[in-house]
Symmetry: C2
Subunit: 222 residues, 2 copies
């Protein structure tokens, strides 16, 4: 028999019953792990979490890109949908707050999504979604500027940097205080606004929590 390389993908639908079931398990496991810990999670771990052997994972997915695609198709859709909704806001600034709020929430709750969305195009996947979001962002930013809600000198790229900052913070703090990132998103957004808000700050952390977060951020030092 031809020892067909492990990863040759039998066309979907032609799979044996048990194989189909395993494939689903794998995708679900990947979704969970990627969401929780980002795309750095390895095949071995995905396999174990799905309750199958590594071989089985490689048999269904030629490489990581393919697995990521299967695991992130849906959340990418949500991202695009969030952008669409925000684009319809009456006042552009409200749309911006809504968009930033929902994007960060999506990215924070799914760190794998964050990796592809902010990956600077490093992952081919999802580039079109990112483009769509960026378009809405630019549109809202221009309108908000015209409506006088935007602080002088704010650039579109500032929003990009803020997304990185906030989701990076979130990555280190989710386990300790899931919504802490909102506090600093609030401060940053307030700082981009022409007339500041000064609403009471949300999500005040305890000293314990801050210490724990610092330790995580520093990584296990040696």
């Amino acid at each position: 028999m031809t020892p067909r390389p492990d990863h040759e993908p039998a066309r979907r639908g032609t799979l044996r019953r048990d194989a189909e079931r395993n494939r689903d398990r794998i995708v679900r496991a990947a979704q969970e792990l990627f969401a929780e810990r980002g795309l750095a999670v390895g095949f071995n771990e995905v396999a174990h979490h799905a309750g199958v052997g590594v071989g089985t994972v490689y048999r269904r997915f030629a490489d990581k890109e393919e697995l990521i695609h299967a695991a992130l198709a849906e959340p990418l859709g949500e991202l695009a949908e969030a952008a669409r909704r925000a684009g319809e806001a009456e006042r552009a600034w409200d749309g911006l707050e809504l968009l930033l709020g929902s994007i960060t929430e999506l990215l924070v709750d799914n760190l794998g999504l964050r990796d592809v969305a902010l990956g600077g195009g490093g992952w081919r996947l999802g580039r079109s979604t990112v483009e769509r979001v960026a378009d809405v962002l630019r549109y809202l930013l221009d309108r908000a500027r015209a409506e006088g809600d935007l602080r002088d000198g704010v650039a579109g790229d500032d929003v990009m940097m803020i997304l990185w900052l906030v989701t990076d913070l979130a990555q280190h703090s989710v386990q300790v205080r899931p919504r802490l990132y909102r506090r600093y998103l609030q401060v940053l957004l307030d700082g981009l606004r022409a007339a500041p808000d000064r609403a009471p700050l949300v999500e005040e952390p305890t000293e314990q929590q801050v210490l724990a977060i610092c330790r995580r951020w520093a990584g296990a030092p040696l």
Copy 2:
């Protein structure tokens, strides 16, 4: 002969002339590399950069902690000194701005220093310095609150988180736009203030730069 383990430290001053010279080279190399890229730099690289073999490094420094100590003693002093100066400010808020500004600058220009200073106590070294800075910080924060300059609900720990955020940003952007971090430090500080400043934003990045920074932030993805 007793094959004295490589790293047994001959007492300083008893070193042979050439050995002394090499030791200095190593410390200088470590200072440079740690400052530029943080404490993750390995012994091998330090050795190579100093123009000596790895063995020579291990002979003088029993472990990484010892080398770090030698390389960071001076910058740690600068940190303490910056805190002292800031504590003497007339108005507490000015002291805070000064302190945050100089701390971030020191930490950004020396990423190794950042690693020990923010390391959540993971590195024994420098704990006393960090304590001293924290004391000044608390003192200024209390005074600023009393003087009515601080936004309601700002906690001392917020400053800690801001230091992490800003220096983390800096870590990914120094190579591209060395002072970009000032822009977001400005926004964040503005957000902690009772009456906002709205000074024109500094250091506007180009689209090119933002893209480059994102790519670095994402790491080389695979």
